[in-house]
């Protein structure tokens, strides 16, 4: 790569002319820009970073050539991050620069459009969860889980300190949670699952008055649908603990409504709608019961009136937030995932309720069908769990799973390895043709 091709020196995004600069310096009363820097000699940087400048075209070529090193694979991957098809409408409208280039709506009079979109996003989540409050974003599911635990700590009615999570919890989520509670007296403990869902008996026997939060997922990270949410809720309730559920907007369109089964807080990745696979970038869903309103982390958009008595939208209850409450804030979050929330709201609106329910149902039937097809192969049993599934499932393979995955990758497919003899396969966003190819390929591979 030729890094020293011709291009502008200086920032291409600073529109100063030489004349203009001279006039400006005169107005300030200095001879050079250097005089404006009040940096002691000793800490001045006189060296170079050694980063070459490039034209726009060269830069695009550079990024493209680097990313071209990514192998083009058909991803049958999920486990908390999905690649649903994103309607063109979402990209085109979310990329309108007023959405993309504005700041947080500290001047609501001039930001009504974004505030309304965030209000609509909150309303979508209120409908999906049945809970009264949804904030307008955390960073991702893992940080939302961490925030749920600090909420549990603030609202706990007992002196308890145990936070219970399923043993299947993704490492990244658990580790993030542990960092969030590291500054509190809470400790994170696992409870067992049985055949892919909560072992309710085991959970019941570990729960005592010392528990402040019980976390479960629906669907679980292995794609199973939880069947005993109500019992889990009762167990949490019996210990005066918060019942926190992990889910997402597609699953919530079809599965039991959290509010109907005693859930206090729903967290999860809302960007399942709105973002393509983005190497784990997400949108933290956070919804909870009204009684925790004053303890909610993150931004909330509410309704008010303007001087002409018209209905308007504005950030509200900001006294919970770091810029006002400082060390007594309900969270340290400032910059969040607002634009992703906009995309999620757009994607959901584009699907409509029929499209959302349909997408979820197809997640169930397509996962079931693919599992049945794999189960017909020699040396494969699918699904491993005798449960209902959505989007994904775990399959047992007689051969070592890593070898199978490697072989599949050589032939253009990515699957998860989740055990010595277990692979996990996800259908979300994968067209039927590709699933047919996958079945044909894995048939070869396991032979």
């Amino acid at each position: 790569m030729n890094e020293s091709d011709t291009h502008t020196t200086g920032s291409p995004y600073a529109p100063h002319t030489d004349d203009g600069r001279t006039v400006m310096l005169e107005a300030i009363g200095v001879d050079s820009v250097d005089e404006l820097f009040d940096i002691p000699e000793d800490v001045r940087f006189t060296d170079e970073f050694g980063i070459d400048a490039r034209s726009e075209r060269e830069t695009r070529r550079l990024v493209r050539s680097v990313l071209d090193r990514n192998t083009d694979l058909t991803e049958l991957l999920g486990r908390g991050h999905y690649g649903y098809y994103i309607p063109s409408l979402v990209d085109h409208l979310a990329d309108r620069s007023e959405f993309l280039t504005s700041y947080t709506q500290y001047q609501p009079e001039v930001s009504q459009g974004f505030l309304q979109a965030l209000f609509e996003y909150q309303s979508l989540l209120v409908e999906l969860t049945g809970l009264e409050i949804a904030n307008c974003s955390m960073y991702d599911a893992a940080t939302a889980l961490g925030e749920a635990a600090t909420l549990a700590e603030r609202v706990r009615s007992t002196s308890g300190h145990r936070v219970l999570v399923p043993d299947l919890l993704r490492d990244g989520r658990r580790s993030t949670l542990e960092n969030y509670v590291a500054g509190t007296d809470l400790t994170v403990e696992s409870y067992p699952t049985d055949d892919g869902t909560v072992d309710v008996g085991a959970l019941e026997s570990t729960v005592d008055d010392d528990v402040v939060m019980v976390y479960a997922e629906n669907p679980t990270v292995r794609g199973t649908i939880e069947e005993q949410l109500e019992s889990i809720g009762d167990i949490a309730d019996g210990a005066d603990a918060l019942f926190v559920l992990g889910s997402d907007p597609v699953a919530l369109s079809l599965l039991q409504r959290p509010a109907d089964v005693g859930v206090d807080v729903v967290i999860g990745d809302a960007s399942v709608l709105g973002l393509p696979t983005s190497y784990g970038m997400g949108l933290g869903l956070f919804a909870c019961r009204e009684e925790y309103l004053r303890q909610v982390p993150g931004r909330l958009v509410g309704v008010s009136e303007d001087e002409t008595d018209r209905r308007v939208f504005t950030l509200t209850l900001q006294t919970r937030e770091q810029h006002i409450r400082r060390e007594r804030a309900t969270s340290n979050i400032c910059t969040n995932q607002a634009w992703v929330a906009l995309r999620t709201a757009m994607h959901a609106a584009s699907l409509g309720p029929n499209g959302m329910v349909d997408l979820a149902k197809r997640g169930v039937t397509r996962a079931e069908e693919l599992a049945a097809r794999l189960d017909g192969l020699d040396g494969v049993q699918a699904p491993v769990h005798d449960r209902h599934h959505i989007r994904e499932f775990v399959a047992h393979v007689d051969q070592p799973a890593p070898a199978i995955a490697e072989d599949l990758e050589k032939r253009g497919f990515a699957v998860h390895v989740v055990g010595e003899h277990e692979i996990q396969v996800c259908v979300a966003g994968v067209p039927d043709d590709d699933l047919d190819d996958f079945v044909a390929t894995i048939t070869e591979v396991v032979r």
């Binding site: 070459d52 990313l67 991050h81 993309l100 001039v110 490492d171 039991q256 970038m281 001087e307 607002a338």
Partner: protein, 499 residues
């Protein structure tokens, strides 16, 4: 100033841009909510085609069912009721509202960037290479030995810094350190982050020059000090001239020095936190490296550390492992030895990092240094043109003016009528009625003149005029008290209100 003064009419004053923000006015409201355009209830299970037993599904769901043309109009109208960087100057102090180069959206939208986080390392060498090169760029820019890209925003970067400090002290058998010192004028996230990390916050007053008061710092430091969090230039735009002495003082008691990178746009190519004695820092890529703020996010808050802290960084990180088959370097993920673990479920805001990489690669050394030079030039020029008093200097990329007898929040509302975005208001509190102003390098002299004219016009207006503002925006002055007293946080609550 008398209250019966006639307000300037910004639409007729020739020195001003004539500005009226788009507004779609309906009966008692602006653009209707999606839910007011349609509400369709879909029952689940009734038609017998549910793939799941009834007791595992919800009964119904009620949401708007609208056609694509209707949605295109809805969101276009909403976008028109937003002021963005492409609408005009946006001098929000501390926020670094730069122009966001369009091409960075194109590179982030490359199909090869759409990668699942659980892919094998061999199959995502491009992603790992980009992350590695960005780690390297940021290390050089900040003068840091190692960088993690995982934190999804500045505050998350602060949290990494605080957790790394905790792990480091714990590792050295100094887990008793329970205090984090923060200047009073610091950003709210510093305090909230330290508290989230379980630390007691020791608040540090400024000296009369607006910088760290060394005497007060001396008094605050002790064997309980875990860290001092500083931004430099500070929130007044002033360089902490005593930074080396400050670093020595903190290090002498065994504490770490944390750099809040929000103001790095002042220093690119002229000074580096690592050279000033900072041990750990975050970069706000949505400020310094021009990734779009997106109405509040997503951003990214990578963290750089000195070598001594490298082993505590979040997992996983990316490293180079020599040449592959075709001669190109190969990259792998690894967990630092004493890692604090994760602060994000995966690897942070990848698409934002792609944009930041592209921005840095586009500007290079000269472009970055020039950006800072012009950011500082612009702030100083703008300051020279406005009539509000600016009590502290010499400032760099931002300055904090005082609205004096006027209410800074009202000044901001009135500035909207002149077609410009106002500065950050009422912070830092050390300046009464603060107007914290950061024009960034992207404004031309003409635009700065326009901005100055808006400041100066408002400075002459009466409090009555200010209180009645804004009058040219989509919504007029909004009643914040009503929003908080009677919280209505979803369209469901509006429907209840009607019945």
């Amino acid at each position: 100033m008398s209250d019966d003064q006639t307000p300037t009419d910004p639409t007729t004053d020739a020195s001003q841009v004539r500005y009226d923000q788009a507004r779609y006015v309906n009966d008692g409201q602006y653009e209707p909510l999606l839910s007011e355009k349609d509400q369709t209830s879909v029952d689940i299970g009734d038609d017998g085609d549910s793939p799941l037993p009834d007791d595992l599904t919800r009964d119904s769901i009620k949401l708007p069912e609208l056609s694509e043309p209707e949605l295109a109009r809805h969101y276009t109208r909403l976008s028109q009721m937003i002021y963005g960087i492409d609408s005009g100057p946006y001098p929000l102090g501390s926020c670094t509202m730069k122009y966001n180069p369009k091409f960075t959206e194109d590179v982030a939208a490359l199909p090869s960037a759409a990668i699942h986080p659980d892919r094998s390392e061999e199959s995502i060498q491009g992603t790992l290479e980009l992350l590695y090169r960005l780690q390297d760029y940021l290390g050089r820019i900040g003068g840091m030995d190692a960088v993690t890209l995982q934190p999804p925003a500045g505050a998350a970067g602060e949290f990494v810094g605080i957790r790394v400090a905790a792990a480091y002290h714990e590792h050295n058998g100094e887990g008793h350190r329970n205090e984090v010192i923060i200047p009073e004028s610091a950003h709210g996230t510093n305090f909230a982050t330290a508290a989230l990390g379980g630390y007691d916050v020791v608040s540090l007053p400024s000296d009369e020059d607006g910088r760290v008061d060394l005497g007060a710092l001396e008094a605050a430091l002790s064997e309980n000090t875990a860290a001092l969090m500083l931004t430099n230039p500070n929130t007044l735009g002033l360089f902490e001239r005593d930074i080396e002495e400050i670093a020595d003082m903190v290090h002498d008691v065994g504490g770490l020095l944390y750099y809040d990178g929000a103001n790095l746009n002042a220093l690119l190519g002229r000074a580096r936190p690592g050279d000033m004695g900072f041990d750990v820092m975050h970069y706000n890529v949505h400020k310094t490296f021009a990734t779009p703020h997106g109405g509040g996010g997503p951003g990214a808050g990578p963290v750089g550390v000195v070598a001594e802290l490298e082993s505590f960084l979040p997992a996983p990180r990316v490293r180079e492992v020599g040449g592959g088959a075709n001669g190109a370097e190969t990259y792998e993920l690894f967990d630092p030895e004493h890692t604090i673990g994760n602060v994000h479920g995966f690897q942070g805001n990848w698409l934002v990092l792609v944009k930041a990489f592209a921005y840095i690669a586009r500007l290079g050394d000269e472009g970055l240094a020039d950006a800072s030079a012009k950011a500082v030039l612009n702030a100083n020029y703008l300051a020279s043109q406005i009539e509000y008093e600016i009590p502290y200097g010499p400032f760099h990329h931002e300055f904090v003016a005082s609205a004096g007898d006027q209410d800074a929040a009202d000044v901001a509302k009135r500035m909207l009528d002149y077609g410009v975005h106002p500065p950050t208001t009422k912070w830092p509190e050390i300046v009464p009625e603060a107007l914290m102003t950061e024009p960034t390098e992207v404004e031309s002299k003409d635009t700065l003149d326009r901005l100055a004219a808006a400041f100066n016009a408002v400075a002459k207006e009466s409090n009555k005029v200010l209180e009645d503002a804004p009058e040219r925006t989509t919504a007029r002055r909004i009643d914040q008290t009503s929003a908080a007293r009677n919280p209505r946080l979803s369209w469901h609550e509006l429907a209840e209100e009607d019945t």
